[in-house]
């Protein structure tokens, strides 16, 4: 029998302990099983504008595409990934354009931008797309994997092999991004796909979490919480307890198997025929 996965979602965003405004933003569409999180940048209140606009644009574009297949595709489609994943990437290309145009038409907002990480689940298939250093993690069978590669200077240097992960963690340059939504007229979007399994946790988060909380702490929090919402709240509390130097946002998804297996069907059949 095909397992039917139900996605439980929990989320929270918080100012943290140091910042004066929250430039993070997230949105969840339960019926579409679409989850989007963004961390804005640009000083004053402009980071907030950028992240809200980016998240809203992704949501709107994906909803539109569900209603009409004729919804235009922005950016290049890749034959390597599914139509869904390409759609998610298209949404981020459009968000880039909107943030860039808004910033360009208002000198006060010049230079504003945002990171974005988005997940879209269709039956068992998970599509991920991202730009910047907000991350997606998959916790499966006790092992946690980072699905996204940060678009930050230190992370790219680690990947090229000119910096060790330890040097990266200690670096002054952690806040330097190599890609962001809305800072240039076009942007490269990274995508990934996974088959979700019953019991999987997916975490989307801003760097305010991962700079404050270690991977093992994150994993144990996910595994020991009684619901996705509780996990989201405990993760934010942990980030704040450890210093909370930045805004912190998390979306926690838990894939739960719905009982539509062979024996459930048998019981149902017996009840109805008896």
């Amino acid at each position: 029998m095909r397992p039917h996965l139900h996605i439980q979602a929990g989320a929270r965003t918080d100012l943290g302990r140091v910042r004066k405004n929250n430039e993070d933003c997230y949105a969840i569409d339960d019926s579409l099983q679409l989850y989007v999180l963004s961390d804005g940048m640009g000083g004053q209140a402009h980071g907030e504008v950028a992240s809200k606009l980016a998240v809203q644009t992704v949501l709107t574009h994906c909803r539109q595409s569900e209603n009409s297949r004729a919804t235009p595709i922005f950016g290049e489609s890749s034959p390597d990934v599914s139509e869904r994943t390409n759609r998610l990437s298209s949404a981020i290309h459009l968000a880039n354009r909107k943030v860039f145009e808004t910033a360009s038409s208002n000198s006060e907002q010049k230079g504003m931008g945002a990171t974005i990480v988005a997940a879209w689940v269709e039956s068992q298939r998970l599509s991920i797309a991202h730009v910047g250093d907000s991350r997606a993690y998959l916790l499966r069978g006790g092992a946690m994997e980072q699905l996204t590669a940060d678009h930050s200077l230190v992370a790219e240097k680690v990947r090229v092999g000119i910096l060790t992960p330890q040097e990266a963690d200690a670096s002054e340059m952690q806040s330097v991004l190599t890609r962001a939504v809305g800072t240039t007229d076009s942007v490269e979007v990274d995508t990934d796909e996974q088959v979700l399994l019953a019991g999987d946790f997916l975490l989307l988060c801003s760097d305010g979490l991962t700079r404050m909380v270690t991977d093992p702490e994150i994993a144990s929090t996910l595994l020991t919480s009684s619901s996705a919402q509780e996990a989201a709240e405990r993760l934010v509390d942990l980030a704040n307890d450890n210093g909370g130097v930045d805004n912190v946002s998390v979306i926690v998804l838990h894939a739960v198997e719905q009982s539509k297996g062979f024996f459930q069907r048998l019981k149902f059949w017996k009840r109805n025929s008896g």
Binding site: M41, P79, M112, G113, Q124, A143, E156, V195, D246
Partner: protein, 241 residues
Amino acid sequence: MSRLVLKFEGAQLKEIPLGTHPVTIGRAPDNDIQIDNLAVSNYHARVYVEAGSLVVEDLNSLNGSFLNDIRVERAMLKDGDAILIGKHEILVDQVHDAALPEDGLRKAPAPRVNETMVLDTHERRKLLDMAAAAGERSQLSPERLLVPTLMVLSGRTDQKEYRIAGKLTVIGHSKMATVRLRGWFTPEVAAQINKHEDGYYLGRGDRVPKINGASIQGLTKLNDGDVIEVGRVRLSFLFRE
């Protein structure tokens, strides 16, 4: 109060107030201004006050310290001077509250400490070139034009051989499976292969697959010639011309 301002590619990274103690600059973590760049020596330079004047002194660094584009051993500093160390610029700021630019157009404020900024395209291009150079050594190099292939060694499948294309390859009974397993009690998704930047990774499905006889722990990178076992099906992972 005077201060030093650390800048990279025009963006402000850090502000260091100038007091009575010397400010040290270098790659080692115990410097007041740490710069993690291989062009910077461990203890590269220092800035201190001597007889009422601010002085920069190079500490026999390999690549030198530059004051307003001139290499210096030791030099007096004044407001507005720029010290260049590696690719980082350190500005001397003795007037703390700078007036707004005269053109009346307020520019976007420079990022403060810890505030996120984006690298300009020039710097990013250099990084991509470096990444491309590194990529030539990796599996996914276009130079090699090798096609990852799964060859069926034993077990019931719908084909004898599969070329892996795309980011996600599913092995199982499911309709979305590339490698369709046959037979009763075959899991919908037995295993999955994900393409990452640096190669192909095998992950579990409803079963935990084996590589060369050992069950995998989390995502595991596949190497040329690896034998994957999923239930009774054995597949060989090969890079083909």
